[in-house]
Symmetry: C2
Subunit: 104 residues, 2 copies
DNA sequence: CGGGTCGTTCGAAGCTTTTCGAAAGATCAA
DNA sequence: TTGATCTTTCGAAAAGCTTCGAACGACCCG
């Protein structure tokens, strides 16, 4: 299983990033990754089928929000915190704290 | 022409707000409103048909990003800067500066 | 009242998104 | 090799989004 390709930092586009963040399932995934942990697909997100989860991870990866790395039979997913901070300073933090605020 | 209804601050939802901001036409509208000006529909956004513009303004309004006020035959649209800041601190600013950064 | 301007709503076309189960691919362990 | 595990891809259904023109509604000025 190969590590898939990721957009380069200068290729990140704001509408894509915002769109990727506008889905509740994907927000949940982003929240689970907050803190810098590198998690396998099976640890992420609310209960959806594995094909659905795979789809959402693809959207996050292709928008530049997450990074996915092959490790044996697993895929380890993490946030591209630094690249996001360089492209859209503060954005990820705002979204995460907005999430917490609404999590109630 | 009546002033339409708007969601209350506590009703703003992060996925809705992010979705509303994830469209290039709507981002353009938000950028035009940045600075606090109150603009008529006809002053906003890239060249799209008026029904399309009306639709995008409705999405922005219903997500809580903009406020629309009737003034004679016009509708004056403005950003709900304070409400957004209260619900999702920093978000609007990040998005606007990210926009500038990509505007090139 | 009549006509003009501003904006919304309706109806529709084309495209994308979300979701799932079934099947296939990749890796490891025995 | 065979089987088990983890994940992606395929195919498909249902829902939603973006866009437009045409029609309508609200308001203002002569």
């Amino acid at each position: 299983m190969r590590t898939p390709s990721h957009p380069r930092p200068q290729e990140l586009e704001l509408p894509n990033v915002l769109h990727a963040l506008s889905d509740p399932v994907r927000l949940e995934i982003v929240r689970a990754l907050d803190g810098g942990s590198e998690l396998a697909c099976s640890c992420l997100g609310p209960p959806v089928s594995k094909s659905t989860l795979s789809h959402h991870l693809k959207v996050l990866r292709e928008s530049g929000i997450t990074s996915t790395r092959a490790e044996g039979t697993q895929r380890l997913v993490s946030l591209r915190t630094e690249d996001l901070e360089a492209c859209f300073p503060g954005l990820l933090g705002c979204v995460l704290s907005g999430l917490d605020r609404q999590a109630v």
